[in-house]
Every structure is written in structure tokens, then in C-alpha cells.
Amino acid sequence: MDSALLSLLAAFLLSLIGLLAFIWSLRKGLLFENPRAASTIFAPGEIGKADDPALDGQAAQRLQEAISKSHGDEPQAEDPDEIKDRIAADRSTAFPVFMFIAFGCMWLVLGATAGLVSSLKLHWPDWMVSDAWMTFGRMRTVHLIAVLYGWITNVELGIIVWLLPRLLRTPLKGPLWVMLGGSFINVGIASSIGAIGAGWSDGMEYLEIPWQIGLFIQAGMICIIGSVFYTLLHRKVHELYVSAWYHIAALLWITLLFTVAKLPGVHFGVQQAMTNWWYGHNVLGLWFTPVALGAIYYFLPKTIGRRVRSYNLSLLGFWTLAFFYAQVGGHHLVGGPVPGWLVTLSIVQSMMMIIPVAAFSINMAGTMWGRMRLALYSPTLRFMMFGGFMYLLSSLQGSFESLRSVQQVAHFTHFTVAHAHLGAYGFVSMVLFGAIYFMMPRVLHWEWPYPKLISLHFWLASIGITIYFVLLSWGGWLQGLAMLDATREFMDSVRVTIPYLEWRSVGGGLMWLGHMVFVGHLLVMILRFGPNRTGEALFAPEKMKLEIMHGK
């Protein structure tokens, strides 16, 4: 049978199965709304109450007024039992979370600096060339490892560890195992950055970490998964909130992904290239994305005191993401020496990604409808909304970018780099910033000393990424067109990008500046400098507040 007929038959069978699943879910009542499940993140009476620990007293009051005006209902007094559980959950995670966030921010400073240096090197090729570790090929890779594994992974682990006990209303079980796991992971990251600087690399994009060092990261992940599952088994709630699905599944996925892709001595030749890109795309799709989405599903409704619009839509978004995203990645090899069916499969699944993206975006738009201006009052909300919107944008762009006709121009150019930054920075990192602004006052029992710096950070980061993305995409597209035109010499495709590469450094510089503001602010908070405020951010009872503040 020829392949066209086979694929038609497969598509027919798949849609038949889909139809049956749809009918079954209708009969099971899965498509009816389930507001009880969507409310699990709120204590009874808490709906309608503003919650943004990043705000000081007055600002929090303004947010509350704005919310009361738009929701039209006054919050009731919360159930003290639930709040007690939440405080216990927060206390059990404070130290591990602090560790993850502190490591994450340290790697962010290093990674952003290495990124800025690499960007400058692209238009100042004779700058900083005297030593091997400074060369573009190593500096760029240090940037990648530091921000992907050091910054994003650490902070995401911090979010998972902080959020799960809250969602499960159970203190974290085995926090020492989590700390041990976190130490293993950071030893692994530090060693791999050292190794790459010294020229020891496995040589594949996203998989540069030598597999011997990778064992540390795997061991660390296993320690953390063990503790997370043990907590899960002891949970007090009946419903698992959507953030918990995303986070638990993502933890399993990243561990397996890394294991499959790093198996020493198995992958070879073009098959290795396929595994490489399958991993490279899925580390974004099955680790960074689900954790960031899970975070939005918690922080965004929590800040405005309103449950997500449709719980079932989030369920649909989760399962379609799990199914489709895992098979994306082959499109990175469009036109390369790989089987055509593999590339086609990945392109089809990339387009299917529109379903989970639409499910998430419609859900969030429904939740925020008529309340967009609340972002004026709450920095957490602002970061979350920006991140959620960039998720929509970068995923739609990614879906269309996988098409052969677009790839023909965009592939092998800076266009792809711009797209990667839109996802990893515009979406994921912005969500992480927002989550840190929400979590840290609870973790440290101290308010953000200078709320204006949060706004400054937001604007530096968002203007920086916009400049970076728009101009680099433009330059990359021109580069691709120049390369496709056989009448133009290759060097034309280099020359045409120079002004855009310079703009990229400007955008990158703004982002870098934003990080310095952010990390500096966090440092001030950790060291308890700055104004000593009453603690609107705290919701611990008076007695506990004193107990924790003894450090001052």
C-alpha cells in the first residue's frame, strides 16, 4: 500500500477514535463545567479577595477596591482551617524554595551576562578573543546552559515545590531530599559550565552537558520526584488542581527526556540528530511550558480572586499539549538528511499545537475579560498576563514556522533565535519573574522593599524583549531571503544582518539591566535592608510573625 493511502487511513482511524472519545466524555459529564474543582485554590470565602504579596499596604487596598468594583461581590471571611494548612505548607517549603530561587537568580546574572557578551561578539568579532573560554562558541553555550538549566530549571523547581504543598494542603514531605536533589542539580550545572568553558562538551545543541555530569542532574531530579510523589500520596484535597497535573507530569517528562536523549553509546549519525532535536524542542514543550502554564493557572486567578473561566478547557489543554507537543521537533531538520515522514509528522503535530494554545488562551481571556485593567494595580498579574500573551504569540508563531514554506526562509537564520527568545524569555521567564514576586514575601516573611523597582524591572524586560524579538526576526528574515537568492553571494546574508544584530545587543542590554535591578532588589530583600514595613504581605498570625522576624 502506498504511503498516501496509509496516512489517509490513519487519519480516518484517528478521527474515529477522537469522535468516540468525545461521545464517551459527553456521557461521563466531562464537558460540563466543574466550578468546584476550579475553586480548590481558594479557601471558602476567599473568592473575590485580592492576593498579591508583591504589593504594599496601600497598593493592595487599591487592587482590592478595583476587584470589588469589577466582581461586584465583597469577599467573606476565609475559613481559618484552610489558611492554617496553607501557612503550614508555606513553612515546610520556605527553605528549599529559597535555595532554588537564590541559585536561579545567581545563574540568571551569569547567563544574562554571557548572553550579552555573545550578542556583542557577533558584531565585534575581534573583541575578547585572547582566551579559548571567551570565544563565541563557548560563551554562547555557557549562556544557554546558565539560563536554561540554571535559571529556568531552578526557578521552576522552586515554583513546583512551593505550589504543590499549597494545592494539596499538605506540608512538603522530605524537604531534605528536595534540598539534596537541588544541590545535585546545581553541582551539575556549575560543573557543566566549567566543562564547557574548558572545552569539554558533548557537542549537541541543548545537550552539551557531558553525560557524566548529566548523571548529577538525573540523580537530583529523582530525589525531588520521590519527595513530590510522597507528598502527593499524603494529600488532604480530593481534587488535583490543573497546576498540579502540569507540574507533576512535567517533572516526570524532563527526567525521562534527559535520560532518553543522553543514553551514552546508543544514538549515532542522523538518528542522533533527530533525537537531539526531539529533545531540544521538548525541553521547552514538556518542561518549561507546562510548569509556566501551571504557574499561570495558579497565580493569575489567585491574584484577582476569581476562578478560571472553564476548568474543562484547561483539561483539554493539558492532554492535547501532552500528546501533540511530545512529537514536535523533527521540523528542525526540514530539508535535512532525515526520513521525510518524520519531518511531516512533526509539522502536523506542530500545527495541532494550536488546540492547546487556543484552549489556554480562551480560558485566560475568559477569566480576565473586563478585568484587564487590574494589571495596573498588580505587578504579579502584569507579569503573568504578559507571559500568557507571549505564550499565545510564540506558540502560534512556532506552529506556522514549522511549515516547509516558512522554514525555507527562516531555517538556519537568526529568525529562529528570535523565536526561541520569545518563548524562553517573553513567555517563560516573565512568568517566573511574576511568580518570584508573589512567592518571595511568603518565603522570606519580608516585603519587597522598593515596589517601584518591580515596575522598572517589568518595563526594562518587556521593552528589551520587544526590541530583541522584532528586530532580530526582521534581520533573520532578510538573512534567509538573501541566502535563498542564488544570485547574491553568501556574504550578503551576513552583511544584511549587522544593524539588526546591533539592535539585538541593545534589546539584550535592556533585559540585562532589568535583571540587575531584579536581582539587586531581591538581594536587598534577603538582607532585610530598606524600609521595615508592617507586613501587609504577611498573612501569618501575629505570633508567628515575631518568631520569624527574630533574624532581623
Binding site: 502506498d2 561578539k121 557577533l122 568579532p125 575581534d126 578573543v129 585572547s130 579559548a132 563565541f136 562558541g137 563557548r138 569539554w200 562538551s201 557537542g203 549537541m204 502527593l232 488535583l240 497535573w245 507533576i248 516526570l252 517528562w253 532518553v260 544514538h267 549519525g269 542522523v270 538518528q271 542522533q272 540528530a273 533527530m274 537531539n276 526531539w278 514538556l286 501532552a322 500528546f323 511530545a326 512529537q327 521537533g329 523533527g330 531538520l333 526540514v334 530539508g335 535535512g336 538528511p337 518524520l342 509528522l345 512533526s346 538556519f412 537568526h414 529562529t416 533565535v417 535563498l484 537568492d485 542564488a486 553568501f490 556574504m491 546574508s493 551576513v494 552583511r495 549587522i498 544584530l501
Partner: protein, 205 residues
Amino acid sequence: MENEAKLTAGAMTTFGIAVAALVVLPYIQVSDVQPPDGLKPYTSAETRGRDSYIANGCVYCHTQQPRDRSFAPDAERGWGRVTTPGDYYYDKPHLLGSMRTGPDLMNIGVRQPSMDWHLGHLYQPRAYVPDSIMPSYPYLFEIKDEAEDGEIIVRLPPKFAPEGKIVVARPEAVDLVKYLQSLDRSYPILPPDPQGVEGTDKAAE
């Protein structure tokens, strides 16, 4: 959803399908690929040079996968024919690359066989390609008063040579160039199986 077992099982199933489709099937499909007659394994010097190529991250700016004529004018640029899985038989790790900040290097050994050109270009790319944005690699070279026995002197355009001194290539630079010279996939490969070409079945009827 209230059951963590269902969640775990579902997450593992979707993941398993993806591994089967994107890792295991390609593994089976290319596991019996044989090296083409024209392809030789890398010598030890070339292997060292390849390690240096990896260590310095050359792969982040240079691909090693010329594409088909129907897709991009790679062949017109002299970058060679489209590659097949067999061409990468000895490549571990693969260095296909994903960026063309610089040109494709799959057949650089054919295009640019000169050791002198490569050494000079690594020392200062702008000595040969004025607008190049490739970094220079001075740490692969030594600047000396005179060369010792067996050392390779880099001949540079006068404007780029250090005054009164000579530049000699360190062994890493020589190995790296030997690797670049070995990049040659210009030997012929078998024409594709006519049965696999769309439309031929009908034409035969």
C-alpha cells in the same frame, strides 16, 4: 481529575508514543545504513581536530547539511549535493548544526583545500573575507621571533602579520584544519530507488 495514577499513566503513554515515533522508529530505519564507498573513517589527527571543532562551538554558526536543490540553492553556492544518512556514518556526535551565520562546511575540504588559507583565516578571518563576523582564534597560534623545527609558519597578507614577528600554528590549529580538509562528501551516491519515486508506478502501468 482526582487520580494521580491516571495522570501518571496518561503522561507516560503520550511520552511513550512520542519516543516510539521520534526516537525508536528512526533508530530502526537508519540502523542498517552502511558507509558509502567513498567515505573514509577519520584519522587520529582529524579526530583531534573534530574535538577542537566541538570544543570551540563551530557548530553554532556552521551547518554540515547542504540541502536539496528544490529547497535551497546550496548546490549553486558550491556547497555540494544533498547529503544522505550514510554520509554521517563516522560522525559521533553529529554536527548537522542549526545556524548559518557562516556558510555550510560539509564540503569545505573540496572548496578550500589549502592549509595556508585555513590557518590564516582562523588566525584572522578578516584578512581573507573583509566583512566576516567570525571570531579570530589567536589562542590557536603563537607569535614568535622565529620558528622551531617542524613548526608551521602561517603566511598572512602583509597588513595582518605582526611586525617583525612570525605566527606559528599550534598543533590544535593544524589538526582542526586537517579535519576541515577531510570534510568531503563529493563522492557519488547511488541514485534513489525508482520504486520510491512518486508517479513511477503509474507510468509503468
